[in-house]
């Protein structure tokens, strides 16, 4: 176990391109963008399917279909089609995060107590109000666990961006391997795993903050 690359202060220079802080930043950048795109695409679809019950087979099978799609293959296909750049990486990572978000949005909406929805309707809430004020807040715990799952996967998988010439922490792995510098590879592995834990912790805090106190007991 050679930790010299990780502990060398020169590799932690904030301004150095290719330094660990810069790589962490670009890594988090890809992760955040992919998650944002994934939420924009998958959340409305998942909520719609859960709210109306239409097309539930899509939501159920999306999870398995997404898991079986090899991200590296998709990434290389996109690069071959679109050329090098951020776009193919974002497409591949977004495809990765859509299934868990879609499935958990659907599951969150389906598993909530229907008497509460009926009560909200009975109180005169419109469909939109029921969705935003009752169903969505109640589905949040399940939804957030799906989102955290997606975030973990992207943080781990964003390393493949380096395989098609982009930055992120995968650079340490790919470049370290290319020059047989295992200390660098180890640094990459440790930082990514640590980052995954921190991101999950951060999202757990957000979850505690946004989930209604009335739901905490269950």
């Amino acid at each position: 176990m050679n930790l010299s690359y990780l502990t060398d202060p020169a590799h932690w220079d904030l301004s150095a391109p290719g330094g660990i802080p810069q790589l962490i930043l670009s890594h988090l950048g890809y992760t955040a963008l992919a998650l944002l795109l994934g939420v924009i695409i998958a959340l409305p679809v998942g909520l719609y399917i859960g709210h109306t019950g239409k097309g539930s087979f899509i939501a159920i099978n999306a999870g398995n279909a997404g898991r079986s799609l090899p991200t590296l293959g998709l990434l290389m296909l996109m690069v071959t089609l679109l050329g090098l750049g951020l776009l193919p990486v974002l497409i591949a990572l977004t495809v990765l995060v859509i299934p868990p978000i879609l499935t958990s949005a659907y599951a969150g909406m389906r598993t909530l107590d229907h008497r509460v929805v009926d009560a909200a309707r009975g109180m005169g809430m419109r469909s939109w109000q029921v969705l935003t004020r009752v169903e969505l807040p109640m589905a949040l715990p399940v939804l957030m666990s799906g989102f955290r799952n997606a975030a973990l996967q992207v943080v781990a998988t964003a390393t493949v961006a380096a395989a098609v010439g982009l930055g992120g922490l995968g650079r340490l792995l790919i470049d370290g391997l290319a020059v047989n510098d295992y200390s660098r590879v180890l640094a990459g592995a440790v930082v990514v795993a640590g980052l995954a834990v921190l991101v999950d912790l951060f999202l757990a805090l957000i979850q505690r903050w946004i989930v209604s106190p009335g739901l905490k007991g269950s």
């Binding site: 590296l72 071959t80 590879v185 995954a196």
Partner: protein, 212 residues
Amino acid sequence: MIQYLRNNSEIVWLALQEHLYLALLPVLLGFAISLPLGYLAVRFPRLYHPLINTFGVLYSIPSLALFVFLPVLLGTKVLSPVNIVVALTIYTVALLARTVADGLRAVDPVVIQAATAMGYRRLRRLTAVELPIALPVILAGLRVATVSNISLVSVGSLIGIGGLGQLFTRGFQLFYIEPILVGIILSVLLAGLADLIIVLVQRAITPWTRAA
């Protein structure tokens, strides 16, 4: 694409075989390791959270990092398939041990008490009562592990062994779309087929779940 398959049938066939072997051997190994581990986590509740948390961290290590780092840890050659098998076994255990534990924990205590009262000893009660009841949960976990293993193998191609993933790297290097498409389609088909087989096996060995 048909043309590509015709001209390269040998390469594709070899890649497919390697892919299958690299993905499924870890599933078997991981399953064999997860059963006792999951049981231990239930039998000694104190172990449950430490075990689950350890596996959670293991699962968050990116596959690429594990693939390149295992040779250093195990002393194997970088190009040895052992690295891929060990890495995927770790992921399988990380996923399955938890499912086994959760499945066993979800068994109704009343049923366990009834079995004990009927004279079942611990081991026999486990194999004849608790495991069969937990089987649907465990097999659901096995499906997830199998499907994600099949898609993860291809990442190994970045270090030179990755079954169908080699078609990705080849196509990427030549800027040639056919091998990549063939690799993706075969990988997805393989995952779907493996998933289907587990579902069919599950239907066959847990007939009582259909009666409900």
